[in-house]
């Protein structure tokens, strides 16, 4: 399977969308807006009904690509190796960001943490269990998406033997599982049930990504993929229609269809500019950008004078995000992956070593 450069384009665009939305929200909560946002909303976002849908677009894109790429990886890895590689890519960077945010919050600097900042807060955040117990503030609010990702990783790991032998079976199981869970998890209180409901509602997006991968790998007939995809989409609609709280913003069913079609089209993209080095570099840093942009957004603009204006504050926050993401990628994310690959290959000769697959680029979306 050749590297799908088109997905890099989508990942970068999704990253821009999520950063843009959180920046807009951040300014809005402070009663501020900036001209760029006004112009973009009037000319593009409002006519295409996207102004409220940027977050669903970004999250859907990340989930779909993740489901797709992770399925490619699952074709050649054992369940244990699969989980180890996913967690090696996700956890070190997450832990470093959370630890830094915790330290900064302990000094009293406003960084978006509302609640007690003690050892229990750090511990629950590091294990993502803060989303299951009330009274534990999130240190980095975007990390809720990782709960959904982890659920998907566990399902894929559990079904890897089936996925290789009967690729249609995990798809059928996933439809049944989500359907049953949507029927069972109907209340969203306490917080653990809400988190579970969020995961169950959004899991179909990852499964649609998995179906795209299976059809592309010729492991599933396109019409079967279409049927399973429609079933998962209807489950997403069902989750939306049967809950007042989840998803918290509208637009997921629409954006899933659009992004799924766009992803399928992007898988065919090739050419010099799609494979450009800068694009690949930016795509590799999307996870780091995802983790750092909210804390950076809270810290950098207040450092400026209030007369500097929103546009300057916006650019400072973007530069800060880019620098922090690059540092995180270079000094935490990649070293951890390389270290794990080295550990995996210990005591083996060259022929037996696990394929490096471009230093994990294929699984770069976790």
């Amino acid at each position: 399977m050749r590297y799908l450069h088109g997905l890099d384009v989508l990942r970068v665009l999704a990253s821009v969308a999520v950063v843009y939305t959180h920046t807009r929200d951040w300014f809005a909560t402070g009663g501020q807006t900036w001209r760029l946002d006004h112009a973009l909303t009037a000319t593009v976002l409002a006519p295409f009904r996207l102004d409220a849908y940027l977050v669903p677009i970004a999250i859907t894109t990340f989930f779909l690509i993740s489901g797709l790429v992770v399925t490619f990886a699952a074709q050649r890895e054992s369940p244990g190796r699969f989980l180890a590689r996913r967690f090696t890519r996700v956890l070190p960077a997450l832990w470093v960001v959370l630890a830094i945010v915790w330290v900064v919050a302990r000094t009293g600097t406003p960084i978006g943490v509302t609640g007690p900042v003690d050892g229990a807060t750090l511990l629950t955040n590091l294990t993502l269990t803060n989303f299951f117990f009330s009274g534990n503030p999130g240190l980095d609010l975007v990390t809720w998406t990782l709960v959904v990702q982890v659920c998907f990783y566990l399902f894929v790991a559990a079904t890897i033997p089936l996925l290789r032998r009967w690729p249609w079976l995990p798809a059928a199981i996933s439809v049944a599982l989500v359907s049953v869970l949507l029927s069972v998890v109907r209340t969203e209180s306490p917080v653990a049930l809400h988190t579970l409901r969020v995961a169950v509602t959004l899991l179909p997006i990852l499964f649609i990504g998995q179906l795209i991968a299976l059809v592309r790998l010729r492991r599933l007939h396109p019409l079967a993929g279409l049927a399973y995809g429609a079933a998962h989409w209807l489950l997403l609609v069902r989750g939306d229609l049967t809950s007042d709280f989840t998803p918290p913003v509208p637009g997921y069913p629409q954006t899933v269809v659009c992004i799924a079609l766009l992803t399928i089209a992007c898988c065919r993209m090739s050419g010099r500019w799609v494979a450009a080095g800068w694009l690949s570099a930016a795509a590799n840093r999307t996870y780091a950008v995802f983790l750092v942009h909210v804390p950076v957004l809270y810290v950098t603009p207040p450092l400026l004078s209030t007369t500097a204006g929103t546009t300057l504050a916006f650019f400072v926050a973007m530069v800060g995000t880019a620098v922090a993401a690059d540092l995180l990628y270079r000094f935490v994310e990649m070293p951890a992956v390389r270290w794990w690959r080295t550990w995996e290959n210990r005591g083996q000769n060259t022929a037996e070593r696990a394929p490096d697959d471009l230093a994990g680029r294929v699984e770069a979306t976790r």
């Binding site: 000319t43 409002a46 006519p47 295409f48 019409l223 229609l241 629409q254 399928i264 065919r268």
Partner: protein
Amino acid sequence: MTRDVPVTLLRAGAALLITYGFLVTGFLASHGSNPQPIAGLREWVNRPLGLGEDFGPLGLMVLLLCTGYAAGGFVRTYLPVGVATLLAAGAVLIGLDISTVPPDKSVTLANVAGNLTFASHLVADKTLLVPLAWVVGCQLVACLVAFDRRGWFAPAAVLVAVGELCVLAANGVDLDHLARPLLFLPLVLLGHVVRRLHDRALPAWAGLLLGTGCLVALAAVDRTFPDLRKWWYPVAATYAVLVFLVALLVSGRTAASVAGRTVTRWLADRVEWLLVLSGVVGFAVLNALRLHIPVPVGMIVALVAVGLAADACHRLTRRRSGT
């Protein structure tokens, strides 16, 4: 894989969507009926997708993209409007209840001539004997645009014209009756641009520029005419463009197999006839049978009648035009 495969598939899909949207649900909506399974489909599919008018506009958009991509001959494109207008005029004269705008029909020689020449669509408050004839008008623009060998000039000129009409409308000129054709026209141009890019007859940057221009024009028309906003046409256009691109890019053996089936080719070849005859033959049959047999049975009879009429017209005109 030939380029006919995605176009055949998309045109067949458009035929189904158009017939469902403008005949089946169009007739029921005109009588204030919202039965199950249609209500369920609206609740579970249309509303979550943001698609109004029961997929009809989506079908039109897909059809127009295909027309821009593979425009047919001028006469062959025009024939459905000519035949359907004459049939509609005849139906009104003998007292059949067909779909017209406004519903209280009047047939005069000037009126029929106006419908045959699209003049009734260009001037406000005229009786439209075939309300969807403007779609064929957009297809005729595709035929004209296809004559331009440079590839970029004609689409750019049409986009400028659309922009100027938007400016006029924004300045108070009453062009509300042109709102839908103006909004759907950029999709014809987009299909043309994609074809030129596919043929490498247009540089990528020019294609990107023109493609963006088409989407901007679509958004501009949507913003200019407030009556359109409730239908969320740009959302339907987004789906249509994405489905069109995916069909062109990833059509494989399965697509070829489906496109090769008789029913698919039948639908693809007759989509324009189904479009214009739904309001004439379909509504006439349904209105005639409405009080005598249950609506579902009447609907099946109407669908068969429209299918037979479309087939007959297609066969006759194909022979006459030598295609």
